[in-house]
């Protein structure tokens, strides 16, 4: 499912125009982005939890150069699905082709 389909179906369900939905969704994602940037943990019920953490600088091996490298620290977003989402999706195998 892509963004367009999501917007379409949300518009259907909520009885709004797609434009409104797109604006609202855009604001929401922007808000989530800034919340995450402030190092806050954000839980959306039934979906999961977003948070950021810093991956430490670490030593690793680059197989291409056959040398050890020090990977710089990196701040990443992580997501943990909620137990509800896990429960619903855990055993449904989707065949990706």
């Amino acid at each position: 499912m892509n963004n367009l389909e999501l917007i379409k179906r949300l518009a259907e369900r909520l009885g709004k125009t797609q434009r409104e939905i797109r604006n609202l969704l855009g604001h929401s994602t922007e808000k989530i982005k800034h919340v995450l940037d402030r190092d806050l943990k954000l839980t959306i019920p039934r979906l999961g939890t977003f948070e950021t953490h810093v991956r430490q600088q670490r030593k690793s091996y680059n197989p291409h150069y056959k040398k050890f490298v020090i990977l710089p620290p990196k701040r990443v977003v992580s997501f943990h699905s909620s137990s509800a989402l896990k429960r619903h999706t855990i055993d449904k195998r989707i065949d990706h082709e």
Binding site: K31, K33, L36, D39, R46, K59, I70
Partner: protein, 417 residues
């Protein structure tokens, strides 16, 4: 620790931003959640613009252990939801570390370098410890695995500019009198110092080279004009000789490469015409001067450039000075050659000019052929490109049959206008 934002606060803030009732935002997010779940179950993949992609991945059953008791258990096959933030979001979140690149360790470094152990001080722990990279002797223990670094971090404070929002971390970073705290943008530099020091060397060399080249070209034209006016009594033997790089086809390039002797001596000279053309055009090319006395450094290429603003017309000069020039690549100093006027202009040749040029190229071909130079073929090919077969016909007896065949087999790109 107040590092959590509740769903209701989020809704409140979004509602405030957009001026939409809270319940609508609530409904929207709730429905979106349901749809994401639906989409995951249906397609296994949901992408949301500006946020990321949710992906359902099937994990096979694998053996595991109960982390508390250590007893082996089987982890069943299952689906997991993965989330990959869009590049925009990833970059935004990681912007503090944006410039950092992996540092490749040399072998001796690799033996001793230690990944800095986790530091409870949030400010520092986001930054690399330069000593570990640069001065290996500091490190007591050889290269621990990343996993051996224990402490899962307390929430790191990376953003200096937004620290006033978070009251807690700020005093912490202030109370710790680390000198590094001020080095907000200093740190990455130290991190990449190993790299930088290597990068600087070629950069400086390139800059120096550019300055030298610029200086060379700047001084050269002045030198040249001076020489032309004053130094007729130069004792040097004339050393012209220019390869004629007519850039018409790859075939020509091939023949150029197989070309043996002349180019080496003449390559430096060959670069000059273009520059001198610009410098001298004003006073030299304007003259209809048909006479030209050869001075050290001159070549037919240069004379042609001065006369016609076009180096490739040198056979045009050559053909009327056949008796004075034995080898077009080598001119004798002090001889006077005639550079005939064009009937048309160098941009728009008349039919007679084309014939003459073709004739000149054929002459060049014959001479080179006589001298046993491989590039001769190239000139025959060019002559043929002028679209004046009668000129070729004229020399039919002198041109080798095999050469004509070779030429015919080369596909010309365009006819010369």
């Amino acid at each position: 620790m107040n590092n959590k934002m509740t769903f209701s606060t989020l809704i409140e803030q979004i509602a405030e931003d957009t001026g939409t009732p809270k319940n609508q935002i609530h409904d929207l997010l709730k429905e979106a959640t349901i749809l994401i779940e639906e989409g995951l179950l249906r397609d296994g993949r949901v992408s949301i613009a500006g946020l990321g992609i949710f992906n359902l991945k099937w994990h096979k059953a694998r053996p595991g252990r109960n982390p508390q008791t250590g007893e082996p258990i089987e982890i069943p096959a299952q689906n997991r939801v993965h989330f990959k933030p869009v590049a925009n979001l990833r970059r935004f979140i990681n912007r503090d570390h944006e410039g950092l690149k992996p540092v490749i360790l040399d072998d001796e470094d690799a033996l001793t370098a230690v990944v800095p152990t986790a530091d409870p001080e949030p400010k520092i722990e986001t930054r690399p410890e330069p000593t570990a990279v640069i001065t290996p002797e500091v490190t007591p223990e050889p290269a621990p695995d990343p996993e051996l670094n224990p402490d899962p971090k307390p929430k790191p404070v990376i953003k200096t500019e937004e620290q006033e929002i978070k009251p807690e971390p700020k005093p912490e970073s202030n109370t710790i009198p680390e000198p590094e705290t001020k080095a907000g943008q200093d740190q990455p530099t130290q991190y990449g110092r190993k790299h930088r020091s290597m990068i600087w060397v070629p950069v400086i060399v390139i800059i120096l080279l550019l300055i030298l080249i610029a200086g060379y070209f700047y001084l050269k034209p002045a030198d040249k004009t001076g020489a032309e006016i004053a130094k007729t009594d130069h004792t040097e033997t004339s050393t012209p000789a220019v390869t004629q790089n007519t850039p018409e086809s790859e075939y020509q390039e091939e023949t150029q490469q197989t070309d043996d002797t002349p180019p080496e001596t003449s390559n430096q000279v060959a670069q000059q015409p273009a520059v001198e053309n610009e410098a001298d055009e004003g006073n030299r090319a304007a003259l209809p001067g048909t006479e030209h006395t050869i001075q050290p450094g001159d070549s037919l290429w240069i004379v042609s450039t001065l006369k016609y603003s076009e180096p490739y017309f040198w056979p045009y000069i050559y053909r009327v000075n056949l008796e004075k020039i034995q080898d077009p690549d080598v001119l004798e100093e002090g001889i006077t050659i005639t550079a005939p006027d064009l009937e048309g202009t160098s941009e728009r040749l008349s039919q007679q000019d084309r014939k003459n040029l073709a004739d000149g190229y054929v002459q060049a071909y014959l001479t080179y052929k006589k001298l046993g130079k491989q590039k001769a073929l190239l000139y025959l090919w060019v002559a043929e490109q002028f679209g004046t077969p009668e000129v070729i016909e004229l020399y039919k007896n002198e041109i080798a049959e095999s050469d004509l065949e070779t030429i015919a087999s080369v596909k010309g790109i365009t006819r010369i206008q």
